[in-house]
């Protein structure tokens, strides 16, 4: 289950309760809107097409059981949690969602057998019931950045701290494409405080747990120890090309031009002390502290000034030999490098919230994010249930047609989903199917010709 609602669910409610006083249900979300959303707007056909990966066609290589072996799980209004739901076709999926009106839909792996019948198989002995395919997924959550943002904390997000997510998308997306060679990548707003990533290439879906863990570890620079002041440790005389690229193309510029002034990370003693703790040299830190304790009036942003001083000090000839130069990079990485929830990516059977769900606390629809224009994505402007409800009503009594969403603000996200993700994906699924079918035919023919 993805952490977004499970582990922190209770905390969420507390935060909301405090914020919104007596109003227990946010205005943007209620069951009736959700019912209407599932009745008129949820893109069942697209989800089915996606999750079928071409197996819903007529090609002889299609695996007709494929979609039916996928686990869905529903969280209902009263927190009832239904796992191992499965559907043989789009109609079953649609009917079930409409009937149960889940507050959250999670997507699990494709199993070796129909997950709904898992108990029957469990009795038959050995591990017949096992995950066989699963998108490579990533979950990045702004709550994991609480020590580097001063504008918000917990589940709250604003336009000052959201760019941390944007940076994460850029770094991870580039590496997934350029390093790992993946092409079919879907980024989705999690509806409140983070982003999800679905890597859907055939090769990605068939990775073993060990291989998934390897990819996740490739991305890891955090030691993850609460008790150490140094969260990032970049050892060795040089950085790996992936880190070099992330640093020079994304992190450094973001840190210096955006994060530094917007989060005021050097503005008070508390804050700059946290940074000084990352420098393992007493002389250097006391030199800097000396400069910063007496405030000099300057027109320039104090954060920018102090950062320049820190860089100059550490990179000056004095400390160069002691390897303090790497400290500058470590500080930038600490503040900006993507913080992934490793466990989500490591295992095939981790569930992740489906795109186009609606977050019950915010009413936001989990819409796709275009990684090429992720700077323009504004989480506060994502369509909400209330907004969609009103847009549908304004449309009034127009004849029903398939494209209800075209007259709502869901039209753009859905057409983006189709044109830049779904269509290229299905095209390559078809090609892959064709070529593996040919190879198989070839194989089965060859013994005959001998």
């Amino acid at each position: 289950m993805d952490r977004d609602e499970s582990e922190n669910g209770r905390e969420d409610m507390l935060i909301d309760g405090q914020k919104q006083g007596n109003v227990s249900v946010p205005r943007e979300f209620n069951v009736n809107y959700l019912k209407l959303y599932y009745a008129k707007l949820f893109p069942y056909a697209d989800m089915f097409k996606w999750m079928s990966y071409g197996n819903d066609g007529k090609h002889p290589a299609c695996d007709q059981s494929y979609f039916g072996r996928r686990e869905f799980s529903f969280t209902l209004e009263n927190d009832i949690y239904l796992r191992y739901q499965s559907f043989n076709n789009v109609l079953q999926l649609e009917n079930s969602i409409k009937e149960k009106c889940p507050f959250k839909i999670d997507i699990g792996p494709v199993y070796s057998v129909d997950p709904a019948k898992k108990n029957a198989y469990a009795q038959s002995g050995d591990n017949v019931f096992t995950p066989v395919e699963r998108e490579l997924i990533f979950d990045i959550d702004i709550t994991d950045y609480d020590d580097v943002r001063y504008c918000c904390s917990g589940a709250d997000v604003c336009l000052e701290c959201w760019p941390l997510m944007t940076v994460a998308i850029k770094v991870i997306d580039t590496a997934l494409r350029d390093d790992f060679g993946f092409n079919h990548i879907l980024w989705v707003y999690s509806g409140r405080r983070g982003v999800h990533c679905w890597v859907c290439d055939g090769k990605a879906r068939r990775l073993t747990n060990e291989q998934r863990a390897a990819v996740a570890d490739y991305f890891r620079v955090y030691k993850g120890n609460e008790n150490s002041s140094k969260k990032v440790s970049l050892t060795g005389p040089a950085l790996h090309p992936f880190l070099v690229r992330s640093y020079s193309e994304v992190l450094e510029r973001f840190f210096e031009t955006k994060l530094l002034p917007s989060q005021n990370i050097f503005s008070t003693e508390d804050r700059y002390e946290k940074i000084l703790e990352m420098i393992p040299d007493k002389t250097a830190t006391s030199e800097l502290r000396g400069k910063w304790q007496t405030k000099k009036g300057s027109k320039e942003d104090i954060n920018v000034v102090r950062w320049e001083q820190l860089k100059n000090t550490l990179q000056s000839g004095k400390y160069k030999a002691q390897g303090l130069r790497r400290c500058v990079e470590e500080i930038v990485f600490s503040f900006t490098y993507p913080r992934l929830d490793m466990e989500v990516s490591r295992h095939m059977n981790h569930l992740l919230k489906a795109p186009f769900c609606v977050h019950p606390k915010t009413g936001h629809v989990c819409v796709p994010i275009d990684p090429n224009h992720c700077d323009e994505f504004d989480p506060t402007a994502v369509p909400t249930l209330l907004q969609l409800f009103e847009e549908l009503n304004i449309g009034g009594t127009r004849a029903e047609d398939d494209n209800e969403w075209d007259r709502t603000s869901l039209g753009q996200p859905i057409s983006f989903f189709r044109s830049s993700f779904l269509q290229p994906l299905l095209k390559s699924c078809k090609e892959e199917m064709e070529s593996s079918y040919k190879a198989k035919l070839q194989q089965s023919k060859s013994p005959l010709s001998w």
Partner: protein, 466 residues
Amino acid sequence: MEIVKPQWKKPPPSANDVVSTLPLYRSAPPLEVRLEDFELYAIDRLRVLKGVSDGLSRGKRPEEMEKLVNDLWKANMRHPLPSEVTNKDIISHFVLRLVYCRTEELRKWFLSNEIALFRYRFRLLSPEAQRLLMAEFDLPYKPVTTAEFEGVKEKLHLVARSTGQLKPTASDAIFYKVPFEEVPELVAGRRVFICKGYAYVAMNQVVSLVVTQFRGLLSKALVLTNRKWTSTIREEEKDRLTPIVETLCTSYLGPDYSQPKEFAEVSIKDIDQVAKSSFPLCMRHLFEKLREDHHLKHGGRMQLGLFLKGVGLKLDDALAFWKAEFSQKVGAERFDKEYAYSIRHNYGREGKRTDYTPYSCQKIISSTPGVGDHHGCPYRHFSEENLRAALSRMGVNSGALENVMDKVRNRHYQLACTLTFESIHGLSYDAGINHPNQYFSDSQKFFKSKNNPSGQGEPLDARSPI
């Protein structure tokens, strides 16, 4: 191997098979094996694998693992006849394959430790032997051409430097371009340059490639062996091999502590004192709870009772000890009626009269204590808060405590216990704790030698390799 039915026997190796010092175990050897060798060889290899497993969970670095594997192999896999050495290697592997093919969990354990063993044995080979072995795998990878090398040279240099290696040059460095998923450990450590799905693997990293191949080979073989086992071998060999196979994987290789002989018996009057000084946390906790509540549920009575038997508490003393506590809660009469039986049972004086063996760590860790139970492994079953409190009460200092908690978080419960042992006794304990009674007896040895510094005393088990 002749010991099983002939259909299991594979065709003999063809003439052009490369003989290298590290066998790939592609097919069962056409050898005759004596039944006792069958078991003894397997146990020797199992000691190696358990040692490897301990080393891995202790987080030993590659160089340390290399040394460990070398030591373990020398200690256990030698044979007086030089001609038998390779046979022992092969036979023991195939016997354990049979033992460990039978469930997913066993296969997983065997696979990961055999692979680690293979990895470090490969690293110990001469470059020439390594090259031969690579040829035997017939790896489908072509070296990167000079032209291509020039294109990515900068990146390769960077990776080499980032991992603290020397600059590769076109002449002395051969790189293979390999799908990244085939070298997960190199990817995980960012020890290769990756571009468009391909990892550039340097010649000195090919061990990863070879290991991946070996893993594929072994993992498939285990599934096949499992099929043969369930379909034929188990039934055909039910009077001969099957009993051996079925007990080997659960055999705990250390002493079983069912017969306390190393030490003078512990008497009731000393028990509080030794509990404080030498009980591992799991037993200390049960002991304290028993003193506090004058009661323990069944799981706790078994775990503590058998441990005390191993410690050297005689049956009569055990009865008196348990009675003294339980009668305060349930009365002496009820104790005699309901509880005394099972204590005698533990000592083999009732029922089947089998001598019950004290629980090993493995058994305790995998137990599932419920509400009101106090047995189990505290490192696994306590909340972090309770564990911290209990460890401080034991006298673990705060620095060591963090290390213990770190092991706990990574689910290395026995290591956590080992670190606790080290912290309390102020020594390094390489053997690792595998049994509560081992903890006890080595703790006692430690205190005895401390109180008697002139006498040599018995060495700690820790000093011997396994």
